[in-house]
Symmetry: none
Subunit: 401 residues, 2 copies
Amino acid sequence: MLSEEMISALIQKTDSKILLLVMDGLGGLSVGGKSELETAVTPNLDALVKRSVLGLADPVAPGITPGSGPGHLAIFGYDPVKYQIGRGVLEALGVDLDMTDRDVAARGNFCTIDADDVITDRRAGRIATSLNEKLCVKLSNQIPTIEDVQIIIRPGKEHRFTVLFRGDGLDDHLTDADPQKEGMKRIPTLPLEPAARRTAGVVNQFLDRVKAILHDDHPANAAVLRGFAKYPAIPHMDRRFGLRTAAIATYPMYRGLAKLVGMDVLKTGDTFSDEIRTVREHFAEYDFFYLHYKKTDSYGEDGNFEMKVKSIEEVDRYIPELLALGPDVFAITGDHSSPSALKAHSWHPSPFLLCSKYCGVDVATRFTERECARGVLGKFHAVDEMTLMLANALKLKKFGA
Amino acid sequence: MLSEEMISALIQKTDSKILLLVMDGLGGLSVGGKSELETAVTPNLDALVKRSVLGLADPVAPGITPGSGPGHLAIFGYDPVKYQIGRGVLEALGVDLDMTDRDVAARGNFCTIDADDVITDRRAGRIATSLNEKLCVKLSNQIPTIEDVQIIIRPGKEHRFTVLFRGDGLDDHLTDADPQKEGMKRIPTLPLEPAARRTAGVVNQFLDRVKAILHDDHPANAAVLRGFAKYPAIPHMDRRFGLRTAAIATYPMYRGLAKLVGMDVLKTGDTFSDEIRTVREHFAEYDFFYLHYKKTDSYGEDGNFEMKVKSIEEVDRYIPELLALGPDVFAITGDHSSPSALKAHSWHPSPFLLCSKYCGVDVATRFTERECARGVLGKFHAVDEMTLMLANALKLKKFGA
């Protein structure tokens, strides 16, 4: 396998443009004989397939269900096993928190404890998000700093929140301050390395302060924290691939993942139509566009087969508009599968379509799981999608003489 | 993945014979709906497919365009990322220079410099090959040695030539003595390691001598050198696979690559018919024959779709003659693709066909890119072709009990 450095050494800059559409959680499963993609009426995708090549990509490895982080990193050409992103960081990205390299992020739950500090409900009865927001304001006001460490708290949905500990010399080698089970006492975080001792102290002071402040807020009368993580230093796409890259996404998590690999995150609206307009407005400025469509995953995770089908059909209607932008390479895939039948992310490989002047032709006739399985790209690792896109954009020199 | 040693440990010698036909740059791209292979009329290949298995092989990795060196090494069972061959060595092989382990090879260009030693034309106006030959004789006569290092100069085409520096203790950890741009001064080579200091001194003396000797030979009044490389020590095929191997090729580069892995290079004529006669004459003496056909690549690189089609049809006519030799395993593939549409090597995987008594049967109906994509061998790494050929020749024992 070529190392990252070997691939970087092959990069040549050209004027060509790559447009990558990620339909989140795209792959599905057959229910009564047809998957979501097979059920959807997609005249524009069907026409596109005639001049594209198809395949099925494993985001991580056969049988491994990826989170959104590994799923996206693979598509961006980053080995998701090498570049593992801490849970706390993903949470922070998901609530649109800008992280610095002085931060340790953690994922928090409000929880219910009894008089003996025993956790009786790890989710505090799934309190309303509006209450969560109020509690986060209260905590933010009362705990602006601990020692010289700044505390940044951001509410999530229901009982979930994110904390950033911002200060010099913080370390994320910490155990979870969360017994992960009900009926057990709250536990402090422990340093896994001597360098993390001070951070552990700050975190544990924070949790004790939270408990004191929320004393009368039953059922949300304490908190647990887990997934402590610093912002990872990942080589950016401009350095690795010589690309000016732009991300267009309506959800914070995907904007955050794009920022992690050095993409410019473009301001856009709430709809797919807004996103496409944003691509159009900036088309001259970048070489690579990552365009994210969320609904395929949302409906998959809801188990809503019919609406996942409809969301695929929505994307299909916009295909001519995307092609009209004139990308030299146009690719469509998912970061992972989210079959309605499973109501969750799954391990099934992602359908992948690539269209370029030099992509060749395929025997596959539709952009579906089964047709992709017999596509000329075969079954491959999603991390190779980036080299395939770069090759088709004529941005890679020959390896060896 | 099995290591080289693990595969070697499985080798068992049998009387079976493997014939590998490499159609250089075989894979192509559809123009108006059909690729070169799809357009060619190939009754003999079509008949062969009925008792063969097919697949598509990536010489290096998806999206990576291989040079001839990596492309061939992979087919011979050598990981092309592990065994990288320096540019200078490939040049030397290409002009039929016999290298020893005391040599450092470099690729040279005659160039034009002005009075300030600034390069005004990196290719000296692409001088005629005949002039190049005269200049090389002149330099050879006047610079037979530098210190105790023997200088061996061999002309290439137009402005290109190859130099071997032959002596004890030479080292190839050297920077290019080539600014790679016009409008810049000539630069000396620099040692990248202390052990290469003396070699750098010899190379730089050589370049200064060349400049002095060519003073009145404008436009070819100086030279640049790059790709310094020693002859690599690659474990030979007899040791790795227990095979007596023979190479039959009309071009020096391919004979050189075969020699690199320890094949006996058989003397042959200029035509494919000559090559086949050579195989026949030596059929009793070897276990493995590498037969190289060049024209598919030449026409692909010329962008001559029609002639690439005709060269495929030429090979087709010789298939019965090759089968009449009675190889136990007959395989056909390319070292890389060279689609006429790209006029260059490309990243597209190579069609692969394998016929043996034990290969099984396929659903694929023709030896084309699309049919190979649905072949039972699937999409695989070209480096695995060797084990597939050995297995079908019953030359591999069981792994584990």
